[in-house]
């Protein structure tokens, strides 16, 4: 594994009025690494993700992405820099089909001088969609189907395929299998394994212990807005992690934090 750092946060802090949702989070993600973020509800996991992806503006601290300090003003900014996010609420347009959704907001076009009325290059977008789905191992019976006619798992796969179909430097998934059945979850997990094989770094927010132990290299535990543990998968187990999540244990380097 390369030691090149993809993402680093230093003292990342977010207050909502008087509520300290995230406090002094120091985090490092290296190239090719898959890291899980765990913690109880309200522990600060999603807040952390929202600061990195520019959905919200942090109160203080630094985010260094790809060697550069960054200040994303919105999720679009972050995406343009190479951070692709699968949000908890799927950002898909129900009445559009798979290629439309994959390319939403970054359509391939012809006759660009027509401005807003420039033509969509459907043929090329369909081909790219098929390529992207094949690469990620996503199986969808008919890409011309609209999202509203798909199962929850297929929708999630489309959302993930979207992040994977553009040359991203970092993929973030916020509870990608929370609403899925067993088979659908397995399909999503396979996609994550494919990303791992391809050396794509990933941050996975999840409540699912088995999934986390199966998929990632490292586990970060949040509690009450602070990072309380940074565990290598080989050096921990489910019970251990639960102890950190509930507060029975706190990592040595984080003593006094929470």
């Amino acid at each position: 594994m390369s030691n090149e750092i993809v993402l680093e946060t230093r003292g990342l802090t977010k207050h909502y009025g008087g509520v300290q949702a995230l406090n002094d989070a120091n985090f490092v993600l290296r190239k090719g690494e898959h890291v899980a973020i765990m913690g109880d509800n309200g522990a600060g996991k999603s807040t952390f993700v929202r600061q990195i992806t520019g959905v919200e503006q942090r109160t203080s601290g630094d985010v260094i992405f790809d060697g550069q300090p960054v200040n994303f003003t919105g999720p679009i900014d972050a995406r343009e820099a190479g951070i692709e996010t699968v949000f908890q609420t799927l950002a898909l347009a129900d009445h559009l089909d798979v290629p439309d959704n994959l390319f939403l907001g970054r359509e391939k076009t012809k006759l660009d001088w027509l401005g807003p009325f420039r033509l969509l290059d459907y043929k090329s977008m369909r081909q790219d969609t098929l390529d992207a789905l094949e690469r990620t191992g996503v199986k969808i019976p008919n890409i011309r189907n609209t999202i509203e006619r798909m199962s929850g798992g297929q929708r999630q796969c489309v959302a993930i395929a979207r992040t994977a179909s553009f040359a991203s430097k970092l993929t973030i998934m916020d509870e990608p299998t929370a609403a899925l059945g067993v088979q659908e979850t397995a399909q999503v997990e396979n996609i994550i394994r494919t990303l791992k094989e391809q050396g794509e770094p990933l941050i996975l927010v999840s409540h699912n212990m088995r999934q986390v132990m199966d998929l990632v290299d490292r586990i970060i535990v949040f509690r009450r807005g602070r990072i309380v543990a940074n565990l290598r998968k080989e050096e921990t187990d489910g019970q251990d992690i639960v102890a950190y999540i509930t507060g029975a244990k706190t990592g040595a380097e984080y003593e006094g934090a929470a």
């Binding site: 679009i76 950002a91 939403l104 969509l120 008919n142 006619r149």
Partner: protein
């Protein structure tokens, strides 16, 4: 390229798998309505075997009763032009109630720059402005009218997108405001006697020509351009559209602007056709335009609907109006029937949507 109809890794985009388009249902409904009128004409004793659609006077040059076909389309063409814009607004999940009064206001404003200086050797009795506004090239009133429409649309869109006023409220306000402008513009007096060029815009079958032309243009725009795709995306899932990097606010302003420009153009065509502009013009047009879109299968929740559907919806209304006259039923029955048909269309559509999923 691989044979993709067989699928790549279990994937297909086989065209035959595309769903039965909603528009075919409306076309079917249209045909049924026509058949019903035709049957009444053939079999009802008081009709003396007249035909609704066919030429029964044995004029060998035509099969259809062309005069009736022309009237069917002509009487919905102007409201149809408005409906093309209303369709786009509803697809974004909005609504536009201001189009009827905007038709009147634009008719007044445009007509007052289209007047002739002299009528039969006498000064124009309805002249609103001095000689400087007389006998201007036709482009002047058209551009002024469209620019006025664009301004109204931008105001609508800005209130809705940037100030988060619900579209119903924002355009209801504009509804009253525009009717006010129409009344204030000439102090309630009609504005008449346009130049020949201006009178040509809405003469004869020209309203139908504009309607068909604009319908084709906007069907292509909605299906094949980024503008169309983003319009559907915003109505389908506004949050997703925003997350995907679409400038939702700016796009909404553009949609309302285009809708109001279409309504303004309808005002120009209407005043040209009537050869006069009056403050009371376009009454209920906004509601009939919405009705056309609704019959055409649009969803008021946004994301679903099409220009073709709205054109067919317009045809349904046209056929009903013409058909009721043909079977000699009073206008009051027409309104009752139209009301019933609008509600029936939505009930059928909802039923179909539920069964599809």
């Amino acid at each position: 390229m691989a044979d993709t109809s067989q699928g790549v890794g279990g994937l297909t985009f086989d065209k035959s798998k595309r769903s039965w388009p909603n528009e075919l249902n409306i076309l079917l409904a249209l045909v049924i309505i026509i058949v019903v009128f035709e049957a009444i004409g053939q079999f009802a004793p008081y009709m003396n075997g007249q035909s609704f659609l066919f030429d029964t006077k044995d004029r060998f040059d035509s099969i259809f009763n062309e005069a009736r076909l022309q009237i069917i389309i002509l009487q919905v063409a102007i409201i149809g032009i408005i409906a093309l814009g209303v369709t786009q607004v509803i697809i974004t999940g909005g609504i536009d109630l201001s189009s009827g009064p905007l038709v009147a206001a634009t008719a007044m404003i445009a007509m007052s720059f289209a007047q002739v200086a002299e009528v039969n050797g006498f000064p124009n009795p309805k002249a609103l402005f001095g000689p400087w506004a007389m006998d201007l090239p036709v482009i002047v009133p058209v551009v002024i009218g469209l620019a006025f429409g664009a301004c109204i649309g931008i105001i609508n869109g800005t209130f809705i997108a940037y100030f988060r006023i619900p579209p119903f409220i924002a355009t209801l306000g504009m509804f009253l405001f525009c009717r006010g402008i129409a009344l204030w513009w000439s102090g309630g007096n009609p504005v008449s006697f346009p130049t020949d060029a201006y009178a040509w815009i809405g003469s004869g079958m020209m309203p139908v020509v504009w309607f068909v032309l604009l319908a084709i243009i906007f069907q292509l725009i909605m299906s094949y351009t980024v503008y169309g795709k983003h319009t559907y995306a915003i109505g389908s899932n506004e949050e997703a559209a925003r997350m995907s990097g679409i400038n939702v606010k700016r796009h909404k302003v553009m949609v309302y602007m285009i809708a109001s420009m279409l309504a303004a153009f309808a005002g120009i065509v209407l005043s040209s056709k009537a050869v006069t502009a009056q403050a009371g013009m376009g009454e209920f047009y906004e509601l009939f335009a919405i009705a056309m879109a609704v019959i055409g299968g649009i969803s008021l929740q946004g994301g679903r609907g099409s220009i073709i559907g709205t054109v067919l919806g317009a045809m349904v209304l046209g056929v009903i109006r013409s058909g009721f006259t043909y079977i000699k039923l009073d206008g009051s029955y027409q309104l009752m029937a139209m009301g019933a048909i609008i509600v029936a269309a939505v009930i059928l559509d909802q039923y179909r949507q539920r069964n599809r999923a």
